[in-house]
């Protein structure tokens, strides 16, 4: 017996998707949020005000760093830019590193609250908080599964190509399937790029064998050999006072980088040695690669020194994939496009999971354990994750500012809420669990900006005064998410009777949802699945 090719593909699609679907959903959603990594961090550290770069900034920083003593090996100045508002100084003696934050015209010191900020989502989406327990391997396997599901999906939803642009709106399961296929097809380039680049970024972890075969040090040695560095500094050079007026260098930078002279970071190596150097790094804007673009100057005279040698083609390709994955180059418009694609992919995964369950529930009379597990994991994986993310923001605002291990506690809150939501989903009927978790999430989203204002009214006033679109945008996004969740919950409340009214309503809701699809695709999915359930109920009524 020769198995039919298409049937095999459908099987593959169904079970690769199901097995790691929840994990993939979590990875994609948190990964999508980390496109706004800096913006989220900005909201989570309200002590830092938004500021523009001003001319004195670098000179003030240099003076402050000089005061840290002459035995320091390295200085680093992070300057605020379009997306982040951190003006941070770091200095390093041997292995010991210290840092402080500055703000204002004259550079007063501030202490922002301890938090991982948006970085938490970024690290979570590839380490799953299990860095030392193989988290990155699990994420890599998930990426491979996603690729498999993507390719087999093309064969599974083959019929969709024949009537492209079709969204059947009569039955909700059909709409959902159409949506799933459509979202799948339009996000093929995005998902392909994301999954492939994810694998390429950690290629040394996932395929270490060839490097281990040829080099003693394995991938680490390979990396050292293919990456280009600045020449090593010889120790024991004579004492020289570093420059205190940066304008010498600023003029040269503006000349050498006429098209994008925004400086992002300045590193000074061996500031008090005669061979010390200043490395100026600009914001990434013009190239897809994630290799930093630097200029090098002498630390005491400001004379230009030799820059970084170019890398080889293979390395450049990896750099480009890396850059594409992270989207450093993306300006606000493009960043939103990435974000939308990310949400669409998350919705694709979520809708797939929901379809799996309801296709089967329709056919079977007797549910078995598998259905129960999938149903509960759907609730905890989709609604629970949303709750956990919002809970993380709440922890940021509500935990006392000077508590020990604060950043850890915020992450603890995220994981704890997720766990509670899983328990809750286990002990409640599925309908009620969906309803309660989503309405709680909606309420939480709507209340968070209010709490923020009550806690410290001056923050919002300052954001408005300074036209800080990032801060205001975050609050607006919370409100929009909250409203969408509220709409979803309301749609769930429609009773399974009064069939006709409901169908009209369904259409309205769906149209609205679809209009705001970039806002919260995942919620739409849960909504649709609810509607589907209602529909099934009404069908039963008719029968």
């Amino acid at each position: 017996m020769k198995p039919d090719f298409r049937r095999t593909m459908i099987w593959l699609h169904t079970y690769t998707g199901l097995l790691l679907g929840w994990l993939l959903f979590a990875i994609f959603l948190t990964g999508t949020l980390s496109y706004f990594n800096d913006e989220i961090s900005q909201w989570m550290q309200p002590e830092l005000s938004a500021h523009q770069q001003h001319e004195n900034m670098i000179n003030i920083s240099l003076a402050r760093l000089k005061a840290q003593g002459t035995d320091v090996d390295k200085w680093r100045i992070d300057l605020p830019g379009q997306r982040n508002n951190q003006w941070r100084l770091q200095w390093q003696k041997g292995k010991e590193r210290q840092s402080l934050y500055l703000q204002g015209e004259s550079g007063e010191q501030v202490t922002p609250r301890a938090t991982q900020g948006g970085n938490f989502f970024r690290t979570f989406h590839y380490t799953l908080e299990l860095r030392n327990y193989g988290g990155r391997y699990i994420a890599g396997i998930a990426a491979m599964f996603m690729l498999l599901a993507l390719f087999s999906g093309i064969f599974t939803h083959r019929r969709f190509f024949r009537d492209f642009f079709t969204l059947r709106k009569k039955a909700v399961l059909k709409t959902l399937t159409d949506f799933h296929a459509l979202a799948g097809i339009v996000t093929i380039p995005f998902c392909l790029m994301i999954c492939a680049s994810a694998l390429i970024i950690y290629i040394g972890l996932y395929m270490p064998w060839s490097a281990q075969h040829y080099l003693d040090g394995g991938t680490r040695e390979l990396n050292q050999k293919v990456t280009t560095y600045l020449p090593k500094l010889e120790p024991g050079s004579a004492y020289r006072e570093p420059i205190s007026d940066f304008s010498v260098i600023a003029g040269q930078v503006a000349k050498l980088w006429p098209e994008n002279p925004n400086i992002n970071r300045i590193t000074v190596e061996q500031p008090f040695a005669a061979n010390g150097r200043i490395i100026v790094e600009r914001t990434r804007k013009l190239s897809l690669s994630n290799k930093s673009e630097v200029l090098v100057f002498s630390s005491h005279s400001g004379e230009p020194l030799a820059g970084m040698p170019p890398e080889r083609i293979a390395r450049k390709i990896r750099r480009i994939f890396y850059g594409l994955h992270e989207g450093h180059f993306a300006q606000p418009g493009l960043r939103w496009l990435f974000f939308i694609s990310g949400l669409l992919s998350s919705a694709l995964i979520a809708s797939g999971l929901v379809i799996w369950l309801y296709k089967r529930l329709e056919k079977v009379k007797q549910r078995h354990a598998g259905h129960f597990i999938v149903e509960r994991l759907n609730i905890a994986g989709i609604a629970g994750l949303l709750l956990a993310i919002i809970g993380y923001f709440y922890a940021n605002r509500l935990l006392p500012v000077d508590i020990d291990e604060r950043a850890r506690l915020e992450i603890g809150a995220f994981l704890f809420i997720w766990l509670v939501s899983l328990q809750h989903s286990l002990f409640r009927p599925a309908n009620k669990a969906w309803f309660e978790q989503l309405s709680l999430a909606s309420l939480a989203c709507l209340l968070l900006p209010v709490i923020d204002i009550i806690q410290e009214p001056s923050r919002l006033m300052r954001a408005i005064e300074q036209h800080n679109l990032i801060y205001l945008g975050f609050e607006l996004a919370l409100l929009v998410t909250g409203l969408l969740l509220y709409k979803t919950v309301k749609a769930l409340l429609v009773k399974p009777k009064q069939v006709k009214q409901k169908q009209v309503k369904q259409k309205q809701v769906k149209q609205k949802q679809v209009k705001q699809k970039q806002g919260k695709e995942d919620k739409k999915v849960t909504l649709k699945h609810k509607l589907k359930r209602i529909n099934a109920g009404s069908k039963a009524d008719v029968v």
Binding site: F164, F165, L167, L182, V186, P189, L334, L337
Partner: protein
């Protein structure tokens, strides 16, 4: 870039109209085979043209990123209109 996006949307619309089902939705009559072919051809040509336009503004690497990320938007938009 905006211009390129507009042309992309129009191209997708042409492709959708080239399909009998969607043509019937809009004009209430089945599409003639010749029309269908013409619509599809112009659709594909316009699609290529919109990509070319993007490349001419932004250069190939960045243009590809933009173009591929805008494509889902135009397809979704069309799918919502077509039904």
């Amino acid at each position: 870039m905006l211009f390129s996006f507009l042309i992309q949307v129009i191209a997708i619309a042409m492709l959708a109209l080239g399909m009998n089902k969607h043509f019937k939705n809009v004009f209430n009559r089945p599409v003639k085979p010749l029309h269908s072919k013409g619509l599809k051809l112009t659709g594909w040509l316009l699609l290529v043209f919109s990509y070319y336009l993007a490349v001419s503004v932004l250069g190939a690497p960045m243009a590809t990123v933009y173009w591929l990320l805008l494509l889902p938007l135009s397809i979704f938009y069309m799918a919502l209109l077509a039904n």
